[in-house]
Structure formats: structure tokens, C-alpha cells
Symmetry: C2
Subunit: 301 residues, 2 copies
């Protein structure tokens, strides 16, 4: 029996569709479209693609996308000054700084400069903290997308045993927090873990965010488990052509798992959709005068 | 072979001793002692004891303790106004609001009113977020004490398998974050977990913070594991006398574990010692003109 393939593209399209009516109303009432600002420092080709994708999808649902491209060599003061301007710009509801940043810049200082109420990536410590204490705040897009996809096949995850592989502050950790808030038991494993499969073999849900192609094997997965593959690694085949692969040995794991996200077409499109949801929530909050309290656990999201 | 008993009282005394010289110097240079403000709303007897203990130990290391007792029926505005005054008081380096608060008050709103740079309990979302993203900030006292005690018997915890029982925002979750930052693999279990011993039986380190006496049994513990008991529950014996017990079946688990903290005399004294350390760090930061590991340019301050 093969795993259910969780179609991230389809889910993302549904989410985008659901946003459009509200955004049209917003445009009429506020006299402007919700605005998303994306800042890119440098010319990393993958980052350029991500920025264009985000901008394109933002426009597709009726938002305005403001893109800012700074030279790789930009100084920190320059980047901070731009963030300050965007914080103060009434047309901008959400601000995203595309990672990775050039190494001479302090990611922490730049991300912490973003007004937490416009922090659509949810990386600001205030939002990370609100997630940690299970209070309403802005939840990072990829973890949010992961939980959404899990809920497509398992609406109630209470008591599920979850293993997150990868402890990055942008994916693994907030994913762990989000699943914990959803009443799962959660284990976080990473590069220092002695025996990752000893954890994953007992898991109902495995979320892998390591960037190591082929890491997650069939023998690592309990039959019937849900496997969420966050990996995005570009590899080159024998034909020289590049393609994107995840962390999971998809062809083998799909024979064991109950459900699995493909790469591409799984988590990736959901990340963008959640970005639009977060931006929409920020716009509503700003327009309505309240705080961008996006319920991270809403079954409809 | 019986477990090493990790003596929290002794460790706490050592820590307090190490603080005194610096505080004496501070007094000479700053012209005042570091100041800790403790706010107690209502008359919960256990809370009263905790407040007195904290104040006493603060004074014992040369700090000034400012205690504020408000009526149980105090309104939220009144408590917030007091916090505002303490935030602005130059003699006060650290502010602690004793929990639990009366149920008519919003714990979130009150804790979030504390200036993150004076948040010596580390409960403010800014500090919770800094911990979550592994950036310098103020770490909650009890988790900090737990890690300190573990390190007495195991200085390098890299790669250790840790299970935290209990997912409270004040202990279990920050403890999980702290051990994750220390490069442990960490699982968080709680009341919705289907099979806690299935987790703990494989753990090198078990931190139990549930308030359920006798929960953690010898069969739950891998031989040689380190057991940190955060439980503080008052029970009454057959003689009618009250005593404090932890979560762990101490007499049985000590035969299996490699090391164990007693209750009382384990985690409790360390929590207070860490409070003094946090307060000292805040005083140093304020006196030196820098930030107590909280970014000075965080927009939400």
C-alpha cells in the first residue's frame, strides 16, 4: 500500500483562493491593497527565485508586492535603515528579509529590527517567544505549512508522537513548538543526536528539515506514519540537469508511510501560502487597529 | 549501586558565595546595592514562603529586596501601574511577579508589562524568544538551575537524550529549549502523551516538572540516567504532617539512576540562586550601560 501523497500545490492554491474575497473587500474599504515588502541582499540565485515567487503569489491574490534589492556588499546600517523605513511605511503590512543574508551582516540584529507586528516570517524573538509560550503571535510560514499539511490527513493530532529532524531556529524549533502547542509529544533531533532512527521509528509524524538528501530512509519510518519533507536541496543528475530533492528517500519511504509530502510540490508551496496568510492577518490587524494575532492552530488555515 | 545525590542546597550556597564579592564592588562603585523587586498579589501561603525566601537570599548576598504585597482583589490596572513604576525605578534592576496570580488577572498581560531587561524570571516573550532562537537573553531560573545541576555530574551534555515531562511555559518548555541549546536531543512529554515511560526509558537525562507525586518510577529510568526532579507538591503524611515531595519515587529511583536531585534540597534552592544570578546580570548590564543580554534596539521595548 502506497502512502497518500499530500499535495502542497493544491492546498496552497485553495488557501490563496480563500484569501481573495477578503482582500478585494480590504481594497475597497482601505483604499489600498495589503502590502508585502520583501528585502533581498545580494544575488543568490535561489533567493532570487524565492523572492520572485513570493512577489508573484502576493500579487496573484491582490496584494501589492514591494521588492527591495540591495547589493551584496551593503552595510548593516543601510539594511537597518531600509527596515526602519518599511516599519514606518503605512502602505506596508508585512516585511520579509530573505535569508540567507550575506555573512558580514548580523542576521539577529536585522531580523530583530523588523516591527514584530509586520514580521510575517515570524522570526523576531517577540514572535518566537509568543509561540514558545503558546500566546497569539505570528508563526513562521514553513512550520505553519507543515502542520496544515499534517491536518489534511490527520485533523486531530492530540497525543501524536512527533519527531522533528533538524533544530534550526527558522524551521525545526518553531515546528516543534507548533506541534507541542497542538498537544503532540515532540522530540527534536539534529546533528548531535546519536541515533535519529531510534526516535523516528516510533513516531506518528516525522518532520525532516535538514537539507540532507536521502537522509530519511524507509527503515526509519513506522508503517503508516506521516512524513513531512521540508528539505530543499538542489542536486545534479547524471544528465547534468539540476533538480530539487528533499530529505526523504521518497520512492522507498512512500511504500511504508501512511502519508508523505513530495518535493517539490509539498511544503514549499505551503510556505508561500502561509506567508500570504500572515501578511493578510497583519493587514487586517493594522487596518482594524488591533494586533496581528494569527491563530496558529486554526484548523481552517 | 545508589545514585549520586545532587545537592542543590550546597550548589546554591556556592553560587551565592561567588556573587558576594562582585556585589560588594558594585555597592562601592554604584553607590547602591543591586535591587530586586518581588510582587505578590494575594495571600497564597506557599507564594508567601517563596517570596520571603527570595527576599532573604537576595539580602544575604548584599542585594536590596523590595517586596510589594497587593490585595488578592487588586485590579489589573493597579498591578500594571505598579509594574510600570518598578520598570522606571532606577534602584530596581530586577522585577519578579510571583505566580500564580489570582485568576481574574491576565498573567500574560502582567508578565509582558515587565521591562524585558528587568525580567529576572525570563518569562517575557522577548526573553522566551531569545531562548528559542538561542540568542543571549534572560533564562528562566528553574530550567537554568536544572541544567546547572546536570552539569555538576555531566559537564558536557552534547548528544545526551533528554526527556522533559511537563510542558509548562514556565519550566518544561524553557528547560527543553535550554537543553536543546546545549546540543542535547530533547523530547517534551505531557499530559497528552500516550506513553511517557516509552520515552524516559531511553533517556540519559529526565527532567520531571509535573507536580504529580510518585509519577516517575524506577521502571521508567534507564540505569545510570540523571534524574532532575522539579516537582514541589505538599502532601500530608499519616501523622497529619505536611511535607514537600517531588515527582519522583525517590527511594526506588535512586537504586537505578546514576544521579538524582532530592526534594527538597535539589532544584528548589537552585531556582533561587539562579534568580540572584539573573538579578546580578541585570544590575551589571544597567550599571554598565549595556543590555542584560536583551537587544537594546528591540522595537517592543
Amino acid at each position: 500500500m502506497n502512502a497518500t501523497i499530500i499535495d502542497g500545490r493544491k492546498e496552497a492554491a485553495l488557501l490563496r483562493e480563500r484569501l481573495r474575497p477578503g482582500i478585494e473587500t480590504f481594497l475597497r474599504e482601505a483604499g489600498r491593497a495589503p502590502g508585502l515588502a520583501v528585502v533581498l541582499v545580494g544575488n543568490d540565485p535561489a533567493s532570487e527565485i524565492y523572492v520572485q515567487t513570493k512577489a508573484r503569489h502576493a500579487r496573484s491574490v491582490g496584494m501589492t508586492s514591494f521588492e527591495y534589492r540591495l547589493e551584496y556588499s551593503s552595510g548593516e546600517d543601510e539594511v537597518l535603515a531600509l527596515v526602519d523605513r518599511l516599519n514606518n511605511d503605512p502602505m506596508i503590512d508585512g516585511i520579509l528579509v530573505q535569508l540567507p543574508l550575506p555573512s558580514h551582516l548580523s542576521k539577529a540584529r536585522i531580523l530583530q529590527r523588523i516591527n514584530p507586528q509586520k514580521d510575517v516570517d515570524g522570526f523576531h524573538p517577540v514572535n518566537a517567544g509568543l509561540l514558545a509560550v503558546d500566546e497569539p503571535g505570528i508563526v513562521p510560514c514553513t512550520p505553519k505549512g507543515c502542520l496544515h499539511l499534517v491536518r489534511r490527513v490527520c485533523p486531530d493530532v492530540t497525543g501524536c508522537d512527533v519527531v522533528v529532524i533538524g533544530s534550526s531556529t527558522v524551521v525545526g524549533r518553531p515546528a516543534a513548538q507548533l506541534f507541542l502547542n497542538a498537544r503532540c509529544s515532540v522530540a527534536v533531533t539534529h546533528i548531535d543526536t546519536h541515533d535519529v532512527p531510534a526516535y523516528t521509528r516510533n513516531a506518528d509524524i516525522v518532520v525532516s528539515a535538514t537539507g540532507v538528501p536521502g537522509l530519511v530512509k524507509a527503515s526509519w519510518i513506522k508503517p503508516g506514519a506521516i512524513v513531512i519533507d521540508v528539505g530543499i536541496t538542489r542536486i545534479h543528475g547524471a544528465d547534468g540537469k539540476g533538480r530539487i530533492v528533499g530529505d526523504v528517500d521518497f520512492d522507498e519511504v512512500r511504500k511504508t508511510a501512511g502519508a508523505i509530502t513530495p518535493v517539490p510540490g509539498g511544503v514549499g508551496p505551503m510556505t508561500v501560502a502561509m506567508l500570504l496568510e500572515n501578511t493578510w492577518a497583519c493587514a487586517l490587524a493594522r487596518h482594524g487597529g488591533g494586533a496581528a494575532n494569527v491563530p496558529a492552530d486554526s484548523p481552517d488555515q
